[in-house]
């Protein structure tokens, strides 16, 4: 049976309740009649021979590029960069796409006799990956061939000896990237384009950049002018990255980009009901739902987190293309839209969503309140092309327990951001002006970023800037089921039931408001007319 496209359901009296995520758990909520629910397309069939497809892509590149083997010669300096642990979500079942691609690339490099090879995890300002995460992404064979010799490195954006200033773009944006990557004869980037924001010039221009470079597009103004950042032509974030990427190419850095796309088969079969339409749940699905929802409510936080973060998704390769950055990215985007695109007519007054336990920045960790805001107001709100799903001045209702829990090892600067910055202001522009610099240059955060597993000191600000477009656009943000003190500190309104939330919303949008519910995960991209 071929996978069915996504569609918009109109809720009526006979519609069963809709699944709402709430962090490490889920509920079923009855939406008011007349609401619309946007369902994601079913997962496309993956490629039957992923390794063959990879080999084919490497041998038949797109755009102005030679095949990989022609680019490899003995004595050359080769750097292979790859996306970090924030992709894919949830983490993939073994073998990871990066492992498959990099093993093929290394086979070619070994055959060509290339000795000087270094692997770089393109972290930008994200946290360093642990050994287990690196082994999972690259496979044991690659890890053991490179790590013991110090040839598997993680980009250190605060290492002055390993950054190269490539000058400025025409708009005056500083371009500074990883020196090893910039001074190689060939820079191969292995990317996973999970959403339309990923890939293209953003891979190198952001993934291997320093704070000096990133601040030119990771700021409130740029994010407000990215409507949305899932659609490059309307995204200032992408315009800036494209300028930087083209500047990097002009500076003589030769990039061979390998972009892969995955289908949206997000949950293993035990949790299959999470991506099925509710009226198609069979007896087993309903039983599993009932048992799981009840069990999870009784499970202490740490344990349920462990359970969820051990989920390995069965998503698989739907396309792989290699060669020149922009040509490769065009093809990848086509695959992404083919899998994720859903046409939606018109906006609604209220947008509802349930937030799952994972976002790109809390893999194997706690989802703190700032990340909750980023996932809801940043990522999910921006899963559109054209217009947002909710009208200007409308209300967004997102469900998540939003506890004031923070991971002190992975997110130390988030704790201080929450206790010392958010208590003063929730305005992205204000905090950008008053506090960003001191967090970005704080020596301790830098120390933890460079030697520990901490996100960079400035990262919580970026999470808040991700919400800038939504914060400007919406009339009110309501958090359903969240800790009221925490929710209020972020400047949102707490509600304990959906009915209460809709009641609060009616103050803003009136009593007869239209409602759209975003049924995600699995990921979808709304094409709003």
């Amino acid at each position: 049976m071929s996978p069915r496209p996504g569609f918009v359901l109109e809720v009526d009296g006979s519609t069963p309740p809709t699944l709402f995520w709430k962090g490490e758990g889920f509920t079923l909520e009855r939406l008011p009649e007349g609401s619309r629910v946007v369902y994601a397309p079913e997962p496309l069939d993956p490629l039957k021979d992923p390794l063959g497809a990879i080999r084919h892509a490497l041998a038949h590149p797109v755009g102005d590029s030679e095949p990989l083997r022609a680019l490899l010669r003995p004595g050359m300096r080769l750097t292979i960069c790859f996306d970090d642990v924030s992709l894919p979500l949830p983490p993939m079942q073994a073998p990871d796409v990066r492992q498959m691609v990099i093993e093929e690339v290394l086979d070619a490099a070994a055959a060509a006799g290339v000795d000087d090879v270094v692997l770089v995890a393109a972290l930008a300002l994200h946290r360093r990956m642990t050994e287990a995460e690196l082994r999972h992404a690259l496979g044991d064979r690659v890890y053991e061939a490179f790590a013991p010799h110090g040839l598997l490195t993680q980009h250190d954006a605060e290492d002055p000896d390993n950054l190269l200033d490539l000058g400025r773009t025409a708009e005056g944006e500083e371009v500074e990237i990883n020196k090893r990557a910039a001074t190689s004869d060939l820079l191969i980037y292995v990317n996973i384009s999970l959403v339309a924001m990923d890939g293209g010039h953003k891979s190198v221009a952001t993934g291997l950049a320093s704070y000096r470079s990133l601040r030119h597009h990771h700021n409130p103004t740029t994010m407000r002018h990215s409507r949305s950042f899932m659609h490059a032509p309307s995204s200032e974030l992408h315009s800036s990255n494209w300028r930087m990427g083209r500047h990097i190419a002009k500076s003589g850095v030769k990039v061979f980009q390998i972009e892969t796309t995955l289908n949206t088969d997000t949950f293993p079969s035990q949790f299959g009901f999470l991506q099925k339409r509710e009226w198609e749940w069979n007896l087993k699905d309903r039983a599993t739902y009932a048992a799981t929802a009840a069990a999870l409510d009784a499970t202490p936080g740490r344990l349920s987190r462990q359970i969820f973060h051990s989920i390995r998704a069965p998503h698989a390769l739907t396309s792989v293309q290699a060669g020149e950055v922009e040509a490769v990215h065009e093809l990848a985007l086509e695959s992404i839209w083919r899998q994720q695109g859903v046409p939606v007519e018109g906006q609604a007054d209220i947008l509802t969503m349930g937030l799952p336990y994972i976002c790109p920045y809390n893999v194997n960790s706690i989802m703190n309140p700032i990340l909750v805001a980023c996932l809801g107001l940043g990522y999910f709100f921006n899963l559109y092309r054209g217009k947002p799903l909710v009208r200007e001045g409308g209300v967004l209702i997102m469900q998540h327990p939003t506890k004031g829990d923070f991971d002190p090892a992975y997110h130390p600067s988030y704790i201080d951001f929450y206790e010392q910055v958010l208590t003063e202001t929730t305005d992205p522009t204000e905090m950008h002006k008053l506090h960003e610099e001191s967090f970005a240059t704080d020596p301790w955060y830098i120390h933890l970023y460079r030697t520990g597993h901490a996100y960079h000191g400035v990262h919580p600000f970026y999470m808040w800037y991700w919400c800038a477009h939504a914060l400007e656009h919406l009339g009110r943000v309501i958090v359903l089921g969240g800790d009221p003190k925490v929710v209020r500190r972020m400047g949102f309104s707490p509600a304990s039931t959906l009915a209460d939330a809709l009641e609060i919303a009616s103050d803003v949008v009136g009593p007869s408001a239209t409602l759209t519910h975003l049924h995600t995960p699995p990921i979808l991209l709304a094409d709003v007319q």
Binding site: A110, V117, R128, P148, H149, G150
Partner: protein, 323 residues
């Protein structure tokens, strides 16, 4: 005021209740410790120790080794009609090699075997000396240079009827490829007139890898990574015995040693590909070098191939011909 500590009272006991201090004017002889090559390991070959060790090898070490390194044994038919004592010369990649080899030897050999172990590593402390000579019947040998005493001891024991397990590389392989063989096994074979059985151990480096030197850098900046696992990791292994080799008339130790090394390399080739391919390559002299390619460390590691149990998606395992 804290309660008076009974231990402190004990510490304050003076002679004759407590130990005496040595007066300054009298010379105190240095304490005697017999370790390393001087260690007296005779007791581990006498019956009480031998019996307990035999029982332990069969009831404890064997199942443990099987649990952590499930082994496929090949070529044991070559040992069927072999008369003890013999010298087993094996490649060396992991500390699991010795217990694995001992527990896969046929019973006739197993309980009457000693193992040559590096005196500077296994016999540098008294407790280690006791432990290894008891549990593995290890004897200390000098690995960095030729030592008359350890050679004599080993030769005597072999002539007494003890089988000897020796690793001619002198230590574990640092990167999975074999190091050049030293002459000890060949010398002993010539001196005692006993045959050498070449042994190839495959896959042991995945079970209990040689931990990279403390100085090696972990991925990323100046910090060190947390080691995810310290213990052994279950992985299938293969133990391949080859035809016993006897030095030819007038063949000197050096040439015999080279012959032993080649035999182990061919065995390795057999295990990694198949018997027929290995035989053909051996005949034409084109066996791949057991020392690995001359290339950068990553390419040497890459040439070792994937782990025995690693999957690469839909890649089928090599079809096996012969055994």
């Amino acid at each position: 005021m804290s309660a008076p500590n009974p231990l402190r009272a004990l510490g304050r006991l003076r002679f004759p209740l407590g130990a005496p201090d040595w007066p300054a004017g009298v010379e105190r002889p240095p304490p005697e410790r017999k370790i390393g090559l001087d260690y007296d390991h005779e007791w581990s070959r006498r019956y009480p120790a031998r019996l307990v060790r035999a029982a332990m090898l069969d009831t404890l070490t064997r199942p443990l080794a099987r649990a952590v390194a499930p082994a496929t044994v090949r070529g044991d038919e070559y040992l069927r009609h072999l008369e003890a004592p013999v010298i087993f010369a094996a490649n060396h990649a992991s500390h699991i090699d010795t217990p694995l080899l001992l527990t896969t030897l046929p019973v006739e050999f197993r309980h009457r075997t000693i193992v040559a172990a590096a005196s500077d590593y296994f016999f540098d402390r008294t407790w280690k000396s006791v432990l290894w000579s008891f549990s593995l019947a290890a004897i200390p040998i000098e690995r960095s240079k030729v030592n008359r005493k350890s050679a004599d001891t080993a030769a005597e024991l072999v002539e007494d009827g003890w089988n000897l397990v020796i690793f001619p590389e002198g230590g574990r392989s640092p990167d999975g490829w074999a190091q050049p063989f030293r002459g000890g096994a060949a010398y002993l074979a010539r001196r005692t007139g006993r045959p050498v059985v070449p042994v190839y151990l495959h896959g042991t480096r995945h079970v209990l890898p040689k931990r990279a030197d403390k100085g090696s850098r972990a991925p990323g900046g100046s910090g060190t990574e947390q080691r995810a696992r310290r213990g052994p990791r279950r992985s299938p292994v293969t133990v391949a015995f080859g035809r016993p080799l006897v030095p030819d008339e007038g063949e000197d130790a050096r040439r015999f040693s080279a012959r032993v090394e080649r035999a182990v390399a061919v065995l390795g080739d057999e295990v990694r590909t198949d018997w027929w391919t290995a035989r053909r390559l051996a005949a034409s002299g084109e066996s791949p070098s057991p020392h690995g390619p001359e290339a950068s460390p990553w390419r040497r590691a890459w040439a070792l191939g994937p782990r025995p149990d690693e999957t690469r998606g839909d890649e089928p395992a090599w079809p096996r011909q012969g055994r």
